[in-house]
Symmetry: C2
Subunit: 454 residues, 2 copies
């Protein structure tokens, strides 16, 4: 009886325009999908990230799913079974699509209503799926039996440079006394990246060929890059699109931010070094960029919101159009692990080489989006903005190998004593992220990984 | 009888795998669309560029058309009327789409067969349309009664910097003794641009706001740009897409080049100047880029092919992967005209301020595409590559106002005596291009225009 009452309440919540803010992130809630209640899972019922998947070895069309424990809830099938018929028709149609673009293009209230419905279906008190074997078998897919696909068709991709630690570390290599450009503390510096070569986690990364100027040489050679690096970044998918000529004020920016993923902005430093003047990175980056498959929503991240980036008295005042209106930073723990081919052959665990945090970025996603649109540039749902390499100050908090001393005599040392100036063939890089807070469950991002192939 | 024989022959040509190379560009041919035979037309029967249009004030879906004289042939309707049923089903379906992407993604033989069929239908000897009033009314649309739309959905947009004159003129402002970067003569320098803000000719251009550092100031202000410039460029639409990790060898590059348009890469110099270090142009460019609506095919341009860019004994040898395999440059005359709001009110003609030629670019489109993909970057049909500003050496051959002395005491002078450092509100910029050669008809590109609004 209590169970039925709770379900009734959840439907009332969904229908009602007054939706309790915190119901879906209530740390006490548990799911009838038991793996979602394990303290080490990335995907408790408080998370519910969206992705696009296909059952392995099936001919089915790609479909939207939600991660729960070690399972995926088939959202398309939920709509087909009538389990989401409380949602507006438009939302239901968007949830039947083979990418998240149409759903991202809805407004925030529809995202919220959908989250509430799905959260209700997965709640341990709700018998709808858990007590019906046929439904359960049709709707839940073991993650090991699914292939994850690109969550959205990415129209445009922009990469920023928002970690002041990263900018300072890189700048010091070129200008020891004056590492930051004069514009750095006034605007989020960014550049347009290549959208077509963004790939899903697990895709192999082919070491690119390109022009390289050897030390002391007067002319470049065409060769396979031997200075391949990773870059640990966080990316945000844009939700509702905007028309050309209409800037997004900072107070409204969060209405257009759908959710976040991990991004590995693979970089060929030798190609990049020779080509990048005067127009910026190009072939050194556009051979591949990996993203993690699960899009973590800002609803799920709410408990981990913190005040915007710290500013010291040295920092200039931020121009009014970029002044943050509320807490817009997130306390996200990030890590990078590496394993060589030999380590994997010998069943050795990968080694974590970087642990850092997203909270000390100099610019927030809201500031990046507002700056990006301040001249009128338009966005489409599914466009991606990446943060730039996330680095802390210390040696074990750095988001790429160049910062870790790749060009010095003291590059990264692995536990077996070997050194890694740059990535070697067979190396696998895995990015991970999670949020934690006393009294709250751990919210994980899943993984963004790739193996270097020649 | 002769007419029927000619039509029969044209069908044989189309069906046959041996297609006479030059039949559609035969300078003697004429169309029954009389305006196509006028020597001043941009669109004789030898041209036949593709575009996407919609009849004004109609509810019809956008459709593919071909320009002929002052008319548009409704290609979708041609398929519906069974006039292109000699083409493979796949081609016919592609020609029914609301953009050119699917057609661009076919292979070159299908482009050629389509051109032959359409050329045959428009030939003065062919009665199929010309002798049937209903068909003629249904298939031909007066250009003044149509709205031109974006020819393709552009996935990714890349802008190069391939005019050595432009690079030298700009470089001199920063480094008088050493204007070219060391990489310039070794590789086509390019950067990723913003695809979402590419607009069709005729769209108003909103003057962007952004951060600007005033001369002598220590901190930037947020203001409306007052240093707005045009950039005269030529763009190429990519045809058949390529998979990630598969470079396009220079000998195959032309198989992937569909056709070309005019591009105006509007630039806010004050915003650009403050933001561009170290990652390149961003908000200074991404507020709008205009393109002309008619995509001129390489089949039509064949008579105007010339040897690749000249190289002097000072120039380094080009690396093997970029060595041109055949003539790959095109003799295209380009011009820029300006009219102020006042001039238009007084019915004065616009003033041509630049006349230049595409043939003295340092890099060809084939080289740009091959370099762009040499590390494995993939392309989708409908992606756009622009050449960068096209400038000659002399004062009246420059592709933007900055080169024309905008920052000096001798900026551009208009016939009424007024000066133009940068564009003013109400200014209309029109780019035009054409090919000509003794014994051949003039092939025009139509116009790429935009008016500056505040």
């Amino acid at each position: 009886m209590l169970t039925r009452f709770l379900i009734f309440i959840s439907f009332v919540f969904t229908f009602s325009s007054i939706i309790a803010e915190d119901w879906t992130i209530d740390p006490e809630r548990r799911s009838w999908v038991l793996s979602a209640n394990h303290p080490s899972t990335d995907f408790p019922i408080q998370n519910l990230p969206y992705g696009v998947f296909k059952r392995k070895n099936s001919q089915e069309t790609p479909r939207i799913g939600v991660a729960i424990g070690n399972q995926i809830l088939d959202v398309k099938r939920c709509v087909q079974e009538g389990l989401l018929k409380n949602l507006p028709k438009e939302t239901q149609l968007a949830l039947m699509e083979p990418t998240l673009n149409a759903f991202m293009n809805l407004d925030k209230r529809q995202w919220k209503a959908t989250r509430h419905s799905i959260s209700g279906l997965l709640d341990e008190s709700n018998p709808t799926i858990q007590d019906h074997q046929r439904l359960k078998r049709a709707l839940l897919v073991d993650m090991r039996k699914a292939d994850m696909l690109m969550p959205a068709e990415i129209g445009d991709y922009t990469d920023f440079y928002s970690s002041i630690n990263h900018a300072q570390h890189i700048g010091k290599m070129f200008r020891p006394n004056n590492p930051l450009m004069p514009n750095y503390r006034h605007l989020p510096v960014g550049y347009h990246g290549r959208a077509s070569s963004i790939v899903i986690s697990g895709s192999d990364i082919r070491r690119p060929k390109g022009q390289v100027l050897a030390a002391g040489a007067s002319a470049p050679q065409f060769q396979t890059s031997d200075k391949l690096d990773f870059e640990l970044e966080v990316g945000v998918f844009i939700g509702k699109g905007t028309p050309l000529g209409e800037p997004i004020p900072i107070a409204e920016a969060k209405e257009h931010l759908f959710g976040i993923v991990l991004v590995n902005d693979w970089s060929a430093r030798d190609i990049q070094k020779w080509e990048y003047q005067p127009l910026g990175p190009f072939n050194g980056k556009n051979f591949a960029t990996s993203i993690s498959p699960w899009v973590i929503t800002f609803e799920a991240l709410k408990p981990y919101k913190i005040p915007g980036p710290p500013r010291s008295h040295d920092d200039p005042e931020i121009l009014a159009y970029l002044q943050p209106k509320d807490d817009a930073a997130y306390n996200i723990f990030l890590e990078v692990a590496i394993s060589s081919e030999k380590m994997r052959e010998q069943n050795e665990k990968s080694v974590v080489i970087t642990r850092t945090n997203f909270s000390d970025m100099y610019w927030t996603f809201a500031q990046m989006l507002t700056h990006h649109t301040c001249g009128g540039c338009n966005f489409k749902a599914g466009d991606l903005i990446a943060s730039g390499t996330v680095s802390g100050e210390k040696i074990d908090c750095l988001g790429c190998l160049v910062e870790r001393g790749a060009f010095t005599k003291e590059p990264l040392r692995l536990p077996d004593g070997s050194r890694r100036k740059f990535l070697e063939d067979g190396d696998e890089i895995t990015l991970r992220a999670f949020c934690k807070k006393p009294g709250y469950p751990r919210i994980g991002f899943g993984e963004c990984c790739g193996v270097i192939k020649r």
